[in-house]
């Protein structure tokens, strides 16, 4: 997962009311913390829960990683995306701008 690719998007749009929240679906705390520190990621990073607190699959039906959902200011999910390849940032930036 090229999670660091989200950092420039976050920095570009955060002052206009854009937020990024990432959830580690496998709750691999040690690796996740190292990765986040190494890449200087500053947006909110959460860890999936277990049993009744599990959200990735039980709420969002995510079966592949990375999967992203873009949510508008009214809390409506407008878009989902599987994968995050080179070049996806441009498409995502267009989607973000259309909702801001």
């Amino acid at each position: 997962m090229e999670l660091p690719r989200l950092q420039p998007l976050y920095e570009t749009y955060k002052d206009q009311g854009f937020n990024v929240v990432v959830v580690d679906g496998k709750a691999d705390t040690e690796r996740a913390v190292k990765f986040i520190e190494k890449h200087g990621l500053t947006y909110t990073a959460l860890e999936n829960g277990e049993a009744d607190a599990e959200v990735v699959n039980s709420i969002f039906g995510v079966s592949g990683y990375p999967t992203s959902f873009l949510i508008d200011r009214d809390g409506r999910v407008m878009y989902s995306h599987l994968g995050f390849e080179a070049g996806d940032e441009e498409h995502l930036a267009e989607e973000i701008e259309s909702l801001l």
Binding site: V21, I36, A45, G49, P66, T67, Y79
Partner: protein
């Protein structure tokens, strides 16, 4: 399809993490193993494709007839072929390595990584024989069968696609799933769900292959059999290509309304470019032209968008966060990932 790129990305990671079995040429303690350890150490220090590829190429050129060369094949296709946009260079390195490699496991890894590049460059390549070489030494597992079917369909090799999709369907049972993961502890319910997903993946591929082999009745029967078993994500987009292939077949059959119904979730809410292209075509078939497509698509999206459920999870410092508070009044990207 993009889903395949994602799969390729995961293979790159899995290969380098050493999840694969050792090939026969990999001496347990000798210089090749030491060279691999040295490579891994150097590789761990670099981040970009420009930095990674010289290390990968040097190792593969030096040790082409090893299982390790197989593990690196998907990294070559991804980093050199895609990230550095040099498919010819990636193909050349993989073809040279394949010619010098005698291990069926590694040859399968190299061959499946090389096949899309060969097709892109118009180079002849027999995907079926690469898979058969490995199948002659051991039974292929479900993922290998479905990977071959996916690759074949992606490049319009319908007979191979149909054969491997059918073989994959035989492995779409709870028992076969558990046999592929003997070290994992799945419940009966989980195994049944995984088996259903396997059925959908196999039947989607089989249906699309049969459609293109001009067996429309059998193709539609496969799609209809898969449809009730499919799973979708939060916004209704299927996590397998079932709706895309079914929709494309309906489009080709001239059933534009049914095609649109099948394609809308993946295209509009799932941001699948290929489904979107097919949806645009179906729209034009129904309306007589593409005029008004973008406006219609936007209104469909508004109608299909659902309000996000909130949840509470902890960050790495132990603080709990309510998602609705984080997203309140903001445009929010919620991304699910795992660290590698």
């Amino acid at each position: 399809m993009k889903k395949m790129l994602v799969a390729a990305g995961l293979l790159v990671l899995l290969g380098l993490m050493g999840a694969c079995s050792q090939g026969p040429q990999e001496d347990a303690v000798g210089p090749v193993k030491q060279a691999w350890a040295d490579f891994r150490e150097a590789y761990g220090e670099v981040e970009t494709a420009e930095e990674k590829m010289p290390l990968i190429e040097a190792f593969m050129v030096e040790h082409p007839n090893t299982g390790y060369a197989g593990r690196l094949a998907s990294a070559v296709a991804y980093y050199q072929g895609e990230e550095l946009d040099d498919p010819a260079g990636a193909y050349g390195l993989l073809a040279d390595t394949l010619a010098k490699n005698t291990d069926p496991e590694a040859r399968y890894q190299i061959g499946t990584a090389m096949f899309p590049l060969a097709m892109e460059l118009g180079e002849p390549m027999d995907l079926g024989s690469i898979a058969e070489e490995l199948a002659a030494t051991r039974a292929l597992d479900f993922n290998e069968m479905i990977d071959v079917a996916d690759l074949a369909l992606e490049h319009e090799q319908w007979e191979i696609g149909a054969a491997y999709a059918e073989a994959a369907l035989d492995k779409a049972t709870p028992e076969a799933f558990l046999a592929d993961y003997p070290d994992d502890d799945f419940t009966a319910e989980e195994a049944a769900a995984k088996a259903e997903r396997r059925q959908v993946m196999s039947l989607a591929n089989l249906g699309w292959a049969l459609w293109n082999l001009e067996q429309p009745g059998e193709a539609m029967a496969a799609f209809e059999r898969a449809a009730p078993l499919k799973t979708v994500n939060y916004v209704g987009a299927a996590d397998t290509p079932i709706d895309y292939y079914h929709g494309k077949a309906k489009l080709a059959a001239g059933e534009s309304i049914k095609a649109m119904e099948l394609l809308i979730p993946s295209a509009i809410m799932g941001s699948d470019d290929e489904a979107m292209a097919a949806l645009r075509e179906a729209y034009a078939m129904k309306k007589g032209s593409e005029e008004g497509f973008d406006e219609w698509m936007w209104s469909e999206r508004q109608a299909l968008a659902k309000t996000v459920d909130t949840f509470t999870l902890a960050d790495y410092e132990g603080n709990t966060h309510d998602f609705s508070a984080l997203a309140d009044g903001k445009v929010t990207l919620l991304a699910f990932w795992f660290p590698t």
